[in-house]
Amino acid sequence: MSAARFLLAGLFLISSASAQSAPPVEAPAREAPADIYKSVIRIEVASQVPDYSTPWNAGRFSGGIGTGFIIGKNRILTNAHVVSNGRRILLNIYGSPQKYAAKVEFIAHDCDLAILSVEDFTNFEKLPVFTFGEVPQLETQVRVIGYPIGGDRLSVTRGVVSRIDFSAYSHSRADSHLIVQIDAAINPGNSGGPVVQDGKVVGVAFQGLRQADNTGYIIPTPVVKRFLRDIEDGHYDSYAELGLGDFPLFNPAMRKALKLPDDNTGVLITNVTPTGSCDGVIKPGDILMSIDGKQVDSAGMVTIDGEDVDMHEIIERKFAGDKVALRILREGAPKDFEITLKPLSWSRMYAIQYEVKPRYIMFAGLVFQPLDTNLFAASKFDDVTLRRLYGDFVPKGIFQKRPDIVVLTRIESDPLTSQLSDFAGYAIDKINGTEVKDLKHANELLHPKEKPEFFVIELFGAERPLVIPSGEAETATKRVQQAYDIEQLSNLED
């Protein structure tokens, strides 16, 4: 109902996958397997994961193995999570020890896809190029090809399509799209590998389920094709959102009160995200009857190509700037609206961010950081007000007043701050009486032209304000900078 989106902890990402498909449970079609295998690329990534708990540090250097496959001239498709925060990406062609340096051309964290290119494509030219098929039918067989753990060489597993669903993509922790579940084992290293049926790619292997056996998930081609179309203009724009929260209208009494016929149509709009696509047009209390002429049923499903799918699937297939026609009932009367879709960048508050450097300010031993899901994941925030600010940030439009929720995350011990350690984990309300809008604003308030006698920092939910005498702040900052080896006092940009 609201935009609180915490996701399935059980999902895990895998790092390489491959598949081939055949018609249901019969002898595998005769293909030239060796040929196809050649285009399945092993990806070796060295990455640097930023450290949100000590934001001035370089972070953790690590790495992993994934799979990719050639989909065009110097275009290798893989999962975003395979190359996220990558510092060095090396590719191996099937059966050859030679490594080729690659770089990320496009990356879409919300649908876990990325396009890589190599500096010199010459040796890849002669390899076949994969083409895409449609969403595989239930019960049909697919092959997963990739470089999973358990050995160094290419691995092929075979499975059956078990379920087609609209479900969570665990890489960003905040997104759900069309997903296909298969019963082939998908293991770490499989990620980014092709899932093949009748010689065509029908999906990209990307995640599994820890608590279940034989449950692999693949990104189906509608999602892949959407990504490829999105980047045609040379830039990934991400998904557009309606910005609506809804409640199903199964209940006969509720339908009666809303004067709706007993025909299983329509959902109640309960929330309209401020600044979102529908803000100012749709209101809470409206009943959404159809999207682009497709009738919305009382569970929020529409029928596309004979299949019942979540109504958001219509929006999923569109791009920012596209129009969508909504029919609603307001006070019993139907009304039609044409909405221009736009992405809601604020909703990334609930997604893990990649390729960004953590922002922070260190001032007199106090460390300030903007609240986001990365910081949340790295910290243990108990304070109720802070957690409510996080949950309400998008649904209640808090970002309009405070683009950042600035949090006092650490207190480095210093003669000036040694009594303040209890104040970590609170959100900042005001500095010297002024409401803090974002991290830059906090930085300005902490470095005013005319120094006040005290910096008085008011925290949401803390028992008292923090007070730093401005005469001592500068020396304390220097002391802490030296003692804790903090090269830069702040990073105000992503």
Binding site: P248, A253, M254, K256, K380, T409, R410, S421, V456, E463
Partner: protein
């Protein structure tokens, strides 16, 4: 990044009951008419009884029924004519209380004369006076000891299964103002170091000093061999207060406070180095402090003649440094007037505060609800309850992170709701019925209105449901643009079925 509780020593109390008690502090004299010191060890048997308690709390998710019962035992001192002192914990949610003679030959149903769950003390007597007189015949009440000093030896009294008294000597290690039962309730407590054995499966025991009653052992930590013992001072004050009905209890100021050790903070508050001071971070609505005109941001410098240091301690003549709250909840009675030294904007001032007791039952979110059947309404399968801290605690050990944020918020920031509600009424769950189709996932939503009526408590909810309009009931929630409807005809049919299926009653509204 470690977060620690901000209001470590906060007294979260609001005042209520009018003071019933004379202002003078009672002297440390027990309630007994003519008690005699008991010296002979075997004779100690005549001064104690066992208490068997059957405890049964209410089921937090199905408030019409109780949880499976549990058992507790205690060895309790006889402190007056047919009167027995024990911990409040022993009678919390007790469905049956029974005295048992130490030799295990005689039993007698018992009743609670007075109980203070905050101080963790209860005074019991026989349910039937006549039978009681017989049961207590020949017993010798224990006299209250003079308060022991740190370093004194005290004796912990146990009685073995065979009826033999067992005395374990321990030393009074320290005296502190801490809680030994309910979170946030701080009282003067002795820390006694003694190596004890389990006897008759009970660690709720009398503690003696020179043959007289010096305290009640409330908890024992076998690893550190340390016991929390309710102090003699507290026993005396409780026994005194228990004489008057209704029980007046221990007063409170109704403030939250913060330490002022931080030198920068002190400069800002204009506190000089020779001053102590506690920063008043919150003044509870309707509490003694608010009535006396104390403001958030004031600095508390002294209570009575005692200066309060920057960490909140004052020098006690015998126990050394004690936390300030003992000056209110221990040294003084409800109704007493105390003079507070305050620093406001750098200027000192004196305020006279009449101490009052905060009535837990009048709080927006009560922090304990022992022996009270919870209010609820079941309507068509929707379950409505009144929020209490025990309901939040039912979310498990880490309830502070697991319980729904909107409900924790109501507990921690009651001032947001107090003007428009006396209780937080919320939809705690949904039984799947024909009336609740499509509502199954709803839970933990605070109810704002029912049939257009503002909801202040369970009573107003029950009344609002009586006012059906057009055969439909509408329910609106706080923070959600969602009005849920119940069909009156379906709901009545469902309610009948629920009764047939064994829900004893569809509401409890007091």
């Amino acid at each position: 990044m470690k977060y620690s509780a901000p209001v470590l020593f906060a007294l979260a109390l609001t005042a209520c009951e009018p003071p019933k008690q004379e202002a003078a502090a009672p002297s440390a004299v027990p309630a007994a008419s003519a008690p005699k010191p008991v010296e002979d060890r075997a004779a100690l048997k005549q001064s104690v009884v066992r208490i068997n308690s059957t405890l049964q709390s209410w089921n937090p998710s199905q408030p019409w029924e109780k949880n499976p019962p549990g058992q507790r035992r205690a060895l309790a001192p006889i402190v007056g004519k047919n009167q027995v002192l024990t911990t409040g914990e022993l009678v919390a949610d007790a469905t049956y209380l029974e005295f048992e003679s130490t030799d295990g030959t005689r039993m007698l149903p018992a009743k609670v004369i007075a109980v203070d769950f905050e101080a963790n003390l209860a005074l019991l007597g026989p349910a039937d006076d006549e039978k009681g007189a017989k049961f207590f015949e020949g017993t010798i009440p224990l006299e209250l000891a003079a308060p022991p000093r740190i370093g004194d030896t005290v004796d912990i009294l146990q009685v073995e299964e065979n009826g033999m008294p067992l005395l374990t000597a321990g030393s009074l290690q320290s005296v502190d103002v801490i809680t030994n039962f309910l979170e946030g309730q701080f009282f003067l407590t002795f820390e006694v170091k003694a190596s004890m054995q389990s006897a008759a499966s009970s660690f709720s025991l009398p503690v003696l000093h020179q043959g007289k009653l010096a305290g009640l052992l409330a908890s024992y930590n076998a690893k550190d061999q340390l016991s929390d013992v309710t102090s003699t001072e507290l026993l005396a004050r409780f026994l005194q207060a228990a004489k008057s009905t209704p029980y007046a209890g221990f007063p409170s100021l109704g403030i939250n406070s913060a330490r002022t050790e931080d030198p920068s903070f002190r400069k800002w508050l204009k506190l000089s180095d020779d001053q102590g001071g506690l920063y008043i971070s919150n003044v509870k609505k309707g509490g003694a402090a608010e009535t006396a005109g104390i403001l958030k941001g004031d600095v508390l410098l002294s209570i009575g003649e005692h200066a309060i240091d920057r960490r909140g301690y004052y020098p006690h003549p015998t126990y050394g440094s004690l936390f300030w709250s003992h000056l209110v909840r221990g040294e003084r009675s409800t109704g007493e007037v105390v003079s507070l030294g305050i620093l406001r904007d750098g200027k000192p001032l004196k305020l006279e505060v009449t101490l009052t007791r905060s009535d837990e039952s009048k709080k927006l979110v009560p922090s304990y609800t022992f022996n009270q059947a919870p209010n609820y309404v079941v309507k068509g399968g929707l379950i409505f309850q009144e929020l209490s801290k025990p309901l939040l605690e039912a979310f498990g050990e880490d309830w502070r992170s697991r319980a729904p944020l909107n409900l924790i918020d109501a507990l921690e920031n009651p001032e947001k709701y107090e003007a428009r509600a006396d209780r937080i009424v919320f939809l705690s769950g949904v039984i799947a019925t024909p009336a609740t189709i499509g509502y199954e996932r709803l839970r933990n939503l605070v109810v704002k209105k029912v049939n257009g009526q503002e909801i202040r408590d369970m009573k107003s909810l029950a009344e609002a449901f009586k006012k059906g309009t057009d055969g439909l009931h509408s329910i609106e929630f706080e923070d959600e643009n969602l009005t849920v409807q119940l069909d009156e005809a379906t709901t009545s049919a469902v309610d009948k079925q629920l009764l047939q299926r064994g829900i004893p009653r569809l509401s409890r509204v007091k």
